[in-house]
Amino acid sequence: MVPELGSFSLILALLLCVILGTLPIIGASTNNVLWMSLARPLSAGVFVFVGLALAILAYAFVTDDFSVQFVAQHSNSLLPMRYKFTAVWGGHEGSFLLWTFMLTGWMVAVSIYSNSMPLDFSSRVLGILGMLCFSYLLFMLATSNPFDRVVPLPPADGADLNSALQDFGFIVHPPTLYMGYVGFSVVFAFAVAALLSGRLDSAWARWCRPWANISWAILTIGIALGSWWAYYELGWGGWWAWDPVENPPLITWLFGTALIHSLAVTEKRGVFKSWTIMLAILAFSGSLLGTFITRSGLLTSVHAFASDPSRGFFILGILAVAIGGSLILFAIRAPMLKSDFSFDLVSREIFLLVNNVILVVSAASVFLGTLFPMVYQAVTDDLISIGPPYFNLIFVPLMILLVIFVGIGPISRWKKTSVSFLIKQLTKVALASIAIGVALPLVILMEFSLPATIAMALAAWIVLGMVKDIANKTANKPDLITGLRSLSYSYYGMQAAHFGIALMVTGVALTSYFSTEKSVLLDAGQSIDVGSYVFTLEGSSQVRGPNYVGDEVAMSVTKADVPIATLLPQRRIYIATGTPSTEMAIDAGFLRDLFVTLGEQKESGAWSMTIYVKPFIRWIWLGAIFMAFGGSLAAADKRYRKLKKRAEDKALINAAEALQPVS
């Protein structure tokens, strides 16, 4: 009976979405205040009912209700409680419910924080989100209801959650990624509302920016969590594989990065308006495309859910209406948006445009690489495979170019920057960066390598450019502290995020070029040298967990006879399915990770294993944390809050103006 209540509350949410997606939007164009004011309570209602459905599904998992098909397929009575709870998003149906719930969460957030916006505008935004939510709910009820029962008889026990998913990473990665992904729907709704109302000015950009920044920050963390999880769980020591399902979040992230920069220009200078709108649509398209690829079975991949073509057609329909519709609206309305082009060829506007072009080209090339095998087959009936070499070949040079501009952009001025000013500012920075690039790898790694030199020089370029810019900005203040205090949150946010790029560049380059790995066969007591470390197999023992049995070996690690760590890698067999799984042991460090994956025990008693030393790998995720922190800091800038009061007064005037498109 309880699962049926879940279906029922999804249907109620769907009905509320029908009203939310129509009346407030119609109300906004006919100035019907009653209809417009429906938007907020309806959003709250949708949130409550979708949330209730999610809670009911979680309840079905926790109580081992295997009469529900989705539960029977993704859980087992032996599964530990925390994984029962999170198995809710362990498959297509449940994860789509989580995805929809995230959307309703964003809707409520918008309705709470929309006081600074005119009523007609917030109603349009919520109405558009309501339409999206409607399409998701309809899709869920029509093709992927997580509450479907097993008929006629429920199985005695469930098939168990995929053992690779029984991990902390699985608890945190999907919700974070979805939250960031879905956040771009909000920005998309802002863009469509702007096109509908014809209102696209600095105020619009100011409303939109915190949402874009926060979504971007969360998406950054979501992708980084996925990368970290793949690194320690999948056991091949990689942190990025260019998998067809890893790519759409990256595409969204690249468009999102372009968007937050373009929004800055639109807010501060009132230009690039249609470009900003276009990027908002593109970032959202990236997120929808990700859904489409994962859930339609279009591409086979590690992440793919059980595929079903009817789902593919449905999502493609959503794609066509949402993206196609917004692009048509864009084509009709965008030419009316006038920008006041008053900047020189060398100016911060142009540098940001260059940044945007590089990011969009990168996103497009990842997109092409992801879909090319399929397109190629559709056109020629021939097959082709595209792997990491293609992506690295295209992506790395683009990123190098981008980082060079990351150094120049912040130091340049709006409207007009003289070339001689830039040269004067940056010559020393450039020379110092090159010196650091050559010297640091020699000192740290004691060998010369061109990739490491380039990477370190680029990282130094960002950091030194940053220091130089802060020095410039505080030069006229009485003392450094006053100077630093006078800078805004959003300025610090930008610098923190750029600093994150410097960390990430360092981590990526040093890990890629200086990792060592050895596959060995060791008896108890035997040692092996890997890099400057000595790994010794101390012994092995049996282990038993709640739903698995396995072996564990103890490896001690020393460096120059100083004990560093004891690593305990395991091999497990999950009882319910008999699937084997390895739990690698990692000694994480700021400057290097040591890790061991365990193979099988030979008849002689020796263990096969692979040992890795990965320098600076943590810097990749540390960089992502700095970027996300920067994004959040920028979103917390005072001016978004201070303006609330002023905007409220303005809103009264705007409400009247908004009736006719302001172009």
Partner: protein, 178 residues
């Protein structure tokens, strides 16, 4: 003219949507290989264990050619089926370790069991391209003359084995069922 520029994204998008639409009709589980009814491409590589291997070393009876990799989670799902086939001696299975690294491949086999007669090491993915591999896992049915007869993309579990492979093999063996 400038107005036309704004319609470009719409046109590009709908062109893409048509391609995606077509993509849905491509049955990724039974992609036709270019090589169906053609002989296996020539190769001279090493096995995962480091021994040299060419077309001559392939079994001279009907066999399965399974594309796998240690990074490939779905391969773990189909693994028990191959283990059973190998144990029961139903049909020889040759592996192609696709775009992987030797150490990882050896470990993976050690960890999960080795159902393969041998596994051809294809670190660069070059042999995979010759075969027209889309990604691991994939399984080809090759007859006793070394001619590729059937291709299955994605996981080969017991039901795929029963419903697709047993009939295909029976047909090759001239109606004699297994």
């Amino acid at each position: 003219m400038t107005r036309f520029v704004f319609f470009l994204p719409v046109i590009v998008f709908f062109a893409l949507a048509v391609l995606l639409w077509q993509g849905l009709f491509l049955d990724t589980k039974a992609l036709p290989s270019m090589l169906i009814d053609k002989p296996m491409p020539e190769f001279a590589l090493t096995t995962v264990d480091g021994e040299e291997v060419t077309n001559v070393d392939l079994p001279d009876q009907i066999f399965l050619l399974n594309i796998w990799g240690s990074y490939c989670l779905p391969c773990l799902i189909e693994h028990p089926t191959f283990m059973r086939l190998a144990e029961e001696g139903e049909i020889p299975v040759v592996g192609v370790n696709y775009r992987d690294r030797q150490g990882l491949a050896v470990n993976w086999l050690g960890e999960n069991g080795n159902p393969f007669e041998f596994s051809i090491l294809d670190e660069s993915g070059r042999f995979g391209i010759d075969l027209g591999v889309y990604g691991a896992p994939e399984t080809y049915l090759v007859d006793s003359d070394g001619v590729i007869r059937y291709r299955h993309v994605s996981v080969l579990d017991e039901s795929v084995w029963r419903e697709e492979f047993i009939p295909a093999i029976a047909e090759l063996r001239g109606g004699v069922s297994l």
